[in-house]
């Protein structure tokens, strides 16, 4: 791979990572990573279970302003 293409690809990846972090698209991956390193032995929630329980948690407090 030419160095320029490599650089462009790396930048693109970084941008996508940023976008995913900003939109919390990567929340499940983060959770899995945490669950694997800390709570070894327990079965982590599925993607869907995690998503639904996160929504419940997020919307039971004040998370939006005027």
């Amino acid at each position: 791979m030419s160095p320029i293409r490599y650089l462009v690809r790396r930048r693109m990846r970084a941008f996508v990572r940023l976008l995913r972090a900003l939109s919390r698209d990567d929340a499940y991956e983060r959770y899995l990573q945490h669950a694997r390193t800390v709570h070894t032995g327990q079965v982590p929630m599925s993607r869907r279970e995690f998503y639904l329980s996160e929504q419940e948690r997020k919307w039971s407090g004040i998370s939006r302003c005027c």
Binding site: R20, L22, S23, D25, R47, E56, G61, S63, C66
Partner: protein
């Protein structure tokens, strides 16, 4: 070299601020305001926020934050500071900073602009950063909990009551803004209605098809929303379809009330959460687009620096420059509501204490710049057009001819033809008396966007802007109703235990119903009020929001004094004193002023006299008793808010006095210090 650079920034800033403050008689380019704002923010951030963070708060880069100590992969997650900045900004930025400056533009561009800049740099940003920091030190405790822990139960209860009241008034006034934007506008109504099934579709997608893939779902939703705006335009051309969506204020108010109730009791994943994803995307995108467009277009500001309405006779809301400009612009300068967001979710994401400066101070600076853009969008319109859009028929006259005559006589020439041509361009039937700020902001935004990206799409841009504001507002409405419901259930639980059960359906329905009835009442009255309702509700909202800021600043000041930092306490005590002065004088005027456009009681009195004398026509007489009762209720509510603020201030003074005298006070609720491991610094 550095010093020279900052000296230059200070010089340019002083020149630009001086320029906007001293120019008279001719139009001024918006770039003056933009440059002044950028320089003020840069200086405030570089010097004041750094000093406050280091000296007053003593942020400690080596102290482990709750995100590190309590990391659980869910709410406590150490996150990169720019990502937290994005989340926090998305959380604090709502429709408030767009509407307040638009309404305050009736005083001219200068008073509002100066207050936005000074209020943010010395007040709002400091409040947000301080509360964020204090909550981070307390494992992300909420403002109410911190008030109870540090000041005592009185402060704690006051914070909770204040929050509930502000929530009710906020939702009512925002609901009114949406209703006024949709009233007799089939295009806007159809587009706003369409956002609901779109949100539900995205909700189902995120739950069933591709769980948790919020990025792709948001992009799909965004495309559908744009389609809805364009589709609304097509519908507007169709005779029968258009009639279906051509609705009066009352049915629209009932629709918003019903929507609020349904959204609050449905599971969050179905409507609330997906709507929020869409609104966040839209918000960040539109704010960036608007900033870019303002810089590219460099519009001329047509509104005078200061208008004659500083004497209190303004058509949009009654009341003189002092104190009402400071009440009208709450979000954008200082907003107590931010203290609720800054304590709770955000502190649990902070990876290092030093990040509070960027996240707390910086996000508020960005919010303030949104307010500046709203001010530019409002004041680039011809002043005559601006007042024609924003003045209620009760003030300028019900017919178009009467309105243009009144407004032109004020010295802001406007003609019926000009207004009709503008309405046609925007794809609307009429733009007269479209109060609430949203339509005039949308006209301003549409002219900016169209000026940069092509004239042909003016009507589409206008309705895009309306949809953008409506999506924002409806998100605040659902989320606010839900939070209000939780708070109410918590309170009702003291009366009867099962009522506190957040998953017990009868209790959910009861509490949601009560919250919706609370704001629904004020919304409905606002719709039937011939003076437009905004005149009453917005100042009340401003007072409530500033009251919350007052409570937050009290908590911050009390903690600083308890930590032995009395000599730095002015950092929060000075904005607190200012908040106390403006809210108290505003409440005083709203209650006792003899001018019926300002004083609630005077307005009730005059209406009662006119009703008794038979001066009202049948329609007016039918609603008069409700309006009279409402004005008196508003007076009582304003006094209640003021009492709460002064109780908390008195409590803070009591605690501070005890500290100074060396008497015992409640112990600090700060979590014990723990050093970060050296390798992870």
């Amino acid at each position: 070299m550095r010093k020279v650079l900052w000296g230059l920034v200070a010089l340019i800033g002083a020149f630009a601020v001086g320029g906007i403050a001293l120019r008279r008689g001719e139009t001024i380019n918006a770039m003056w305001i933009v440059v002044a704002a950028v320089c003020v923010y840069a200086l405030g951030y570089r010097f004041y926020s750094a000093w406050v963070a280091a000296r007053v708060l003593s942020v400690d880069a080596t102290r482990a934050t709750p995100a590190i100590r309590l990391s659980n992969g869910r709410d406590f997650v150490p996150t990169h500071r720019w990502i937290v900045f994005g989340h926090h900004f998305a959380a604090i930025a709502g429709p408030g900073p767009l509407i307040g400056p638009t309404l305050a533009a009736q005083f001219g561009y200068l008073p509002g602009t100066l207050w936005i800049l000074v209020g943010a740099v010395l007040g709002g940003c400091v409040q947000d950063m301080t509360i964020l920091f204090l909550s981070t030190r307390r494992n992300g405790r909420s403002l109410g909990q911190m008030a109870r822990d540090e000041l005592g139960p009185v402060g704690g209860y006051a914070a909770i009551v204040g929050t509930l009241v502000i929530m009710i008034i906020l939702i009512a006034v925002l609901g009114l803004v949406v209703v006024n934007a949709m009233k007799h506008s089939p295009w806007a109504t159809a587009t706003v209605f369409a956002t609901i099934p779109i949100a539900i579709l995205i909700g189902l997608y995120l739950r069933n098809l591709r769980p948790g893939r919020v990025l792709e779902a948001s992009l799909i939703g965004l495309a559908l929303l744009i389609l809805a705006v364009v589709g609304g335009g097509a519908l507007n051309e169709h005779e029968t379809l258009r009639a279906w969506f051509d609705l009066d204020g009352k049915p629209l108010a009932w629709f918003v009330i019903g929507y609020g109730f349904v959204a609050a009791v449905l599971p969050v994943w179905l409507l609330l959460a997906p709507r929020d994803y869409l609104s966040t995307f839209l918000k960040l995108g539109t704010v960036m687009l608007l900033a870019l467009a303002v810089v590219l277009m460099r519009p001329e500001i047509k509104m005078p620096a200061v208008t004659q309405f500083i004497d209190g006779t303004g058509p949009i809301f009654g009341g003189a420059l002092f104190p009402f400009v400071f009440i009208t612009i709450a979000c954008g300068a200082i907003s107590g509501f931010h203290a609720l967001v800054s304590s709770g979710t955000t502190p649990k994401l902070i990876g290092n204490e030093t990040d509070v400066r960027l996240i707390g101070y910086g996000s508020m600076m960005l919010e303030s710049s949104v307010a500046i853009m709203a001010m530019i969008a409002a004041t680039l319109l011809d002043p005559g057009v601006f007042f024609a859009i924003n003045s209620a028929p009760g003030i300028v006259g019900a017919s178009a001819d009467a309105a243009v005559t009144t407004i032109s006589n004020w010295g802001f020439p406007v003609s019926v033809e000009q207004m009709n041509a503008l309405a046609r361009e925007m794809g609307e039937e009429t733009l007269f008396a479209r109060t609430g700020g949203a339509p005039s902001l949308a006209v301003g935004m549409a002219s900016i966007f169209a000026g940069v990206f092509g004239e042909g799409l003016l009507a589409v841009w206008y309705h895009f802007a309306i949809m953008f504001e409506a999506v924002f507002i409806l998100t605040t409405l659902d989320a606010g109703t839900r939070v209000g419901r939780f708070m109410l259930q918590d309170a009702l639980g003291h009366l009867w235990k099962p009522l506190a059960e957040t998953s017990w359906y009868p209790s959910v329905l009861l509490a949601s119903g009560l919250v919706v009835a609370g704001w629904g009442y004020f919304l409905y009255i606002g719709v039937v009020d011939p003076n437009g309702g905004i005149n009453i509700l917005w100042p009340l909202f401003g007072i409530a929001n500033q009251l919350l800021a007052g409570i937050a600043l009290c908590v911050a000041t009390g903690i600083l004094v308890k930590q032995g930092k009395l000599r730095y306490a002015w950092v929060t005590a000075a904005p607190l004193a200012w908040i106390a002065i403006i809210t108290t004088s505003a409440t005083w005027e709203k209650v006792v002023s003899q001018d019926p456009r300002v004083g609630f009681l005077a307005a009730a009195e005059r209406l009662a006299t006119r009703l008794a004398a038979g001066e009202l026509d049948a329609a007016q007489a039918a609603v008069a008793p409700q309006l009279i009762f409402n004005q008196r209720l508003d007076a009582a509510l304003a006094l209640l808010l003021m009492a709460i603020l002064w109780i908390v201030i008195a409590d803070t003074i009591r605690v501070s006095w005890r500290v100074v005298r060396g008497l015992p006070v409640l112990p600090s609720s700060e979590a014990p210090a723990m050093q970060v491991a050296a390798e992870s610094r």
